[in-house]
Amino acid sequence: MKKVLFVVYQSPAGSIWVNEALRSAFGMYGEDLEPAILFMEDAVIAVNKNTHPESLGCLSLSMSFKYLERYGTPVYILKEDLEKRKIKEEDIEPAWKAKIITKEELSSFVHSFDKVIIF
C-alpha cells in the first residue's frame, strides 16, 4: 500500500488549492493508495471552523470536509503555522481527529510517505 501525502500551503479563501488537493486525495481510494493531508502555511486557515469562503461567494469547503469525515482521511496540521495565525485547537473540527505536528517533526513526517505532492 503506497502512502501519498497531499500538502496544501495556500489560503483556502484566496485560492482553490485546498479544495483541489482534497478532491485529488479522495481519488486515491480508487487505487490501493493511502492518502493523507498536511495543512501548512496559510492553508491552516482552512481547518478553522469559522472559515467560510462561501461568504465571499466562493466555493465552500464543506463538500470536501464532508468527504474527509466520511473517508476518515488522516489530517495533519503544522503547529507553528496554526499559532502564527492564532488558530486554537478547539477551532478545529473534532471529528477529523487531526494530528498536530511540529516544525521539527516536519522533515521526518514527509519522509514517511512514498509520494509527496504539494499544492
Binding site: A13, G14, I45, H52, S55, K86
Partner: protein, 92 residues
Amino acid sequence: MALIIIKKSPTENISKRMIEMAIEGDTILFVQDGVLHAIDETTKDLIKNAVSVFVLKEDLEARGYSEDMSLFPCVNYDGWIELIEKNEKIIS
C-alpha cells in the same frame, strides 16, 4: 496622500514592501489574504506614524477571524468605495 491596497499574504515579500511604501497621511487597506497582516503583531512595526490602516471585513471574516481579533479597524465594501472616493492616488 495615497490609498495603498494590499492583497498579498505576509508569506510573500511584496506585501511587506508595499506596507513600507506608505508615508504620513496615507491609508493602507488590507484585502484578500492581505488581511492576515491584521492578525500578526509584527505588522505594527512596519507601519509608520500617521498612516491609517483598515481591513476588509468580508475577507477577514471569510478566513475565520472576527473583527475584534483584528489589530486595525474594519470596513466593508461600501467603506472601501469611500476610501477610493477620498484618495485620488491609488497604489495597488
